[in-house]
Amino acid sequence: MNILTGYLRQLGTALRFLLFATLVLGVAYPLAVFGTGQLIAPYQANGSILKDSSGAPAASALIAQAAADDSGAQDPRWFHARPSAVKWDPASSSATNLGPNDPKLLDAVAANRSAVAAAEGVDAAAVPADAVTASGSGLDPDVSPEYAKLQLARVAAANGLSTDAVAAMVEQYTSSGVVAFLGQPSVNVTALNLAVAAAARPSQPAQTK
């Protein structure tokens, strides 16, 4: 009887402890971080939302935004994002999780390589690894500087811009400094495409191939 009441008392304490700890750790704490975040860094706290020239929210600087058709082929007018296991849908996120020797991955890489080579009009051997491999999140907003350079001529031509002007934009959206040293230099395609669109807009009629 004593042991039983001892157990019951423990369970009661456990339940009350959990309840009141939840109020502190599960309600007050996230709200405090929310309040602090909105106060000192609302841009980051709300998803690094980029606005277009009219001031309307156009994209998140951290999330890939690919203009792709149902088959997954990306619009030739814009810089392309890396392959994605979730078709760049921010309502989900995933890698392919295929092993390094998986025949399915081998096929996917080969298909991606010929598609990129055809789209850019270059030799298949010139296509860098990040262009043919799916990212870890499926939402990777970045590509390698090599892959961006490969796309330069196509994007410049499609938007009626000089390659020099587009090359300068690529440069502008390439990471540098500490983050590039800790990780690797990367070009933010989401932000880059917005910049290209803004530059192209005055002279460029909406023309897509």
Binding site: A45, N46, S93, L106
Partner: protein, 555 residues
């Protein structure tokens, strides 16, 4: 993607410097929290509300019963409320979670594993994430810490039944250690780009015509404790590879630092609490050596870029995020599996075979370098006891550890401890590979299929939570098998550790004599290192040979 060796070396050295600089102040603070005798006014209010008698200490069996009662109530609450998600606020239109998935998830988060058999984006809303899963990120980490505190008290105290008060230890660890550190970390993460809001944002790119619903949620608050508490359960499916959880390489570095922070400060707190700092430093040196060896191996294995698909792609890339690349991914992959974190910033399944193998070996070591919050240190203290026993056999003396005799009772408890996880991993994997229907959940072929299964149970039973994500475990059979692995892999060792603490606390202290094997210094450190590695190799070599070694070495 190329492996930048300079960046790798700089980051490894920087981590060692920062952790070395902080281990002492944090260790002193931790020891002060655990040895504290006074409660603040808010704490006293909390104890009154929770019905905690803060002034009495518990015997080992009552302490243990409190751990188990608290964990059982937590599992039931997390399970039940997930099932009720459909009628709870803040869940959007998400229905109640599938019972098998809810059971697996409840066990997973209460055991500090954070194996995720569910896809967060489509399964759990803000209510479940914020008030159930993130709360367990705090409390399960705190439980690990209080268990090692009980063990340390057992070693330090003499002729007593009293090991402290579980509820007070749990509250102090949660509110004085984890909460303030998590808050600072979360705010820094927000500054770095991690999201913290409660709404989705509709964006439309007028030029491309693409509309997206950008997700939101209390991500930073959960990310901070997920990492700090060596939990690892992502707010999003892609975990720390998701740009909203880990937006750049600087935050990635910060996350690795954060997941190593508490485990690498605990040895100092230990040395202080037993009144012999050399003990703490020996343990820390063994942890550091293992971490350095493992991270070097991981760096090498990742840089190798092995694999036919990797070669076809012209290098690493599959499963990597461009902003990180191979270096931050190798550093993260090692540190997440040497602790019980299990967060990932790269798809482990797509890593070169031997790199995936290093991740598995890291977990198989028992996650002791520096290990999970609390669990890493108690794992290494058990291995220390095994080591003094072996040393005692060699010199023909009764083994002692810090003046406590390691008799038959203590040895039985320690021996059972080190048998628990290998038994679970090998038995559960063995049963699973015999069932062709179940193996269909791991769609890979050849040795990689076995690796996916072995990784899952290694991760589950060691309470890591990372995965070779190709395997689908949301069905009833694997949910139950992994649930069993996580539950027994967490609580059997805890039962043994607290029982050991009780039996050590009862003893008097034997003064050290000429025949006492010193448990500090390079000699004992090397012995402890050897015992840890050999024990792991003996248990797991055959299984590793069938999985990552077969895939990585036979070409």
């Amino acid at each position: 993607m190329t492996f930048n060796s300079a960046s790798f070396v700089v980051q490894v050295v920087a981590l060692l410097i920062v952790l070395a600089a902080l281990h002492k102040p944090l260790g002193v603070y931790l020891a002060r929290v655990f040895e504290g005798t006074t409660s603040s006014r808010p704490e006293r209010l909390f104890y009154r509300l929770a019905g905690v008698d803060a002034d009495t200490e518990q015997t080992w069996s009552v302490y243990l019963r409190s751990v188990l009662a608290f964990s059982a109530v937590s599992i039931l609450a997390v399970f039940g409320l997930q099932r009720l998600q459909g009628v709870l606020p803040g869940s959007g239109s998400l229905p109640g979670v599938d019972p098998w998935v809810a059971m697996n998830t409840a066990i997973s988060f209460v055991t500090n594993t954070n194996w995720q058999t569910y896809v967060p984006e489509t399964t759990v809303g803000i209510f479940v994430q914020m008030t159930l899963l993130a709360v367990q990120n705090f409390l399960s980490a705190a439980v690990g810490i209080v268990v090692v505190v009980a063990l340390i008290r057992g070693i330090a105290r003499t002729r007593t039944q009293r090991l402290g008060n579980f509820w007070v230890d749990l509250a102090r660890t949660s509110f004085r250690v984890l909460l303030p550190l998590a808050f600072v970390a979360a705010v820094l993460m927000v500054l770095g780009g991690v999201v913290q809001n409660f709404w989705f944002t509709e964006v439309t790119n007028q030029a491309t015509g693409v509309s997206q619903l950008i997700p939101g949620g209390p991500v930073a608050s959960q990310e901070a404790i997920k990492i700090l508490g060596t939990n690892g359960g992502g707010y999003f499916n892609a975990n720390s590879a998701h740009p909203f959880e880990n937006p750049n390489a600087l935050i990635s570095f910060f996350e690795v630092f954060l997941l190593l922070l508490i485990p690498s400060a605990l040895p100092y707190a230990y040395g202080r609490m037993v009144g012999d700092q050399k003990q703490g430093y020996t343990v820390a040196a063994v942890m550091g050596t293992l971490w350095l060896a493992s991270i070097s191996l991981m760096g090498w294995a990742v840089a190798s870029g092995q694999g036919t698909a990797t070669a076809a792609a012209g290098g690493l890339g599959e499963g990597f995020e461009q902003r990180f690349g191979p270096v931050p991914s190798a550093i993260f992959a090692t540190s997440t599996t040497l602790t019980s974190t299990g967060a990932v910033n790269v798809a482990h399944d797509s890593l070169p075979p031997l790199a995936g193998g290093v991740a598995m070996v890291n977990m198989m070591l028992g996650e002791v370098a520096p290990g999970g919050t609390g669990s890493g240190l108690y794992g290494l203290l058990i291995l220390s006891i095994i080591s003094v026993f072996i040393a005692g056999l060699m010199v023909g003396r009764t083994p002692e550890y810090l003046g406590k005799k390691i008799g038959p009772t203590e040895m039985k408890l320690a021996a059972m401890y080190i048998l628990v996880t290998p038994t679970l991993v090998l038995a559960l994997s063995g049963i699973t590979v015999l069932l062709p229907d179940i193996m269909a959940n791991a769609p890979a072929t050849g040795p990689h299929q076995f690796s996916e299964v072995l990784y899952a149970f290694t991760s589950g039973a060691n309470n890591n939570g990372s995965a070779f994500g190709g395997i689908t475990t949301s069905g009833p059979f694997l949910s139950v098998m992994l649930g069993l692995g996580m539950l027994l892999g967490r609580f059997l060792p805890i039962v043994l550790v607290i029982a050991l603490a009780g039996s050590l606390a009862r003893q008097g202290k034997i003064p050290a004599s000429a025949g006492t094997v010193p448990t500090h210094g390079p000699l004992f450190g090397s012995l402890l290192l050897g015992v840890t590695v050999i024990m792991t190799a003996l248990s797991y070599f055959p299984a590793l040979a069938l999985g990552p070694l077969a895939e990585g070495l036979l070409k």
